[in-house]
Amino acid sequence: GAGVSQTPSNKVTEKGKYVELRCDPISGHTALYWYRQSLGQGPEFLIYFQGTGAADDSGLPNDRFFAVRPEGSVSTLKIQRTERGDSAVYLCASSLAFGGGHNEQFFGPGTRLTVL
């Protein structure tokens, strides 16, 4: 079946610009997560949604970062006034309802963001 998809696969932008990254989770997965992976590092948690609501946004680095999931399926990560330090691979994952917390997360291929 279809896995998690992310678009675009690559995004190059200039410092100060606004970008949107899209994630389409596995059908039926109510939990959706965003992570950021810098070169040579493990993924770092940004935010997760249960349905339409952001249940935990403690990983968002500052108020330039925002994410939405208006219909409980597709999610968009939005970054305002991009900085060179935002350059990384942004990963999206989804899982079945978290009750118990043991469900594995399925990851998309990521969006590589480069801020010049």
């Binding site: 896995g3 998690v4 939990a31 997560y33 992570y35 040579g40 590092q41 493990g42 993924p43 770092e44 948690f45 997760y48 249960q50 249940a55 935990d56 990983g59 990963l91 994952a93 899982s95 978290f98 009750g99 118990g100 917390g101 043991h102 469900n103 594995e104 997360q105 399925f106 990851f107 998309g108 291929p109 990521g110």
Partner: protein
Amino acid sequence: AQSVAQPEDQVNVAEGNPLTVKCTYSVSGNPYLFWYVQYPNRGLQFLLKYITGDNLVKGSYGFEAEFNKSQTSFHLKKPSALVSDSALYFCAVREPPYNQGGKLIFGQGTELSVKP
């Protein structure tokens, strides 16, 4: 705070030999532990997880992992390595409380290289 450590940046193994990729964790309470693999230009793929029960967990592609509570370790193992196992491996711990979502904390990753 919860954390995961992968003490080896790189592991080199000859094809056919057993392999071990090390992981230690620090978490309050009983841990939920995961291993993921990342191939070049591809997303993270779930290998296996420990939630409760038997300390030896079997997963995909012939991998297994041993949970050791006294040593706070969750090492990944395979009896006979294949060249195709060469990839980046991540250990992750699920952050409690377990009734509040699936945020994962990842280690830095270990690059496994299997030579013919």
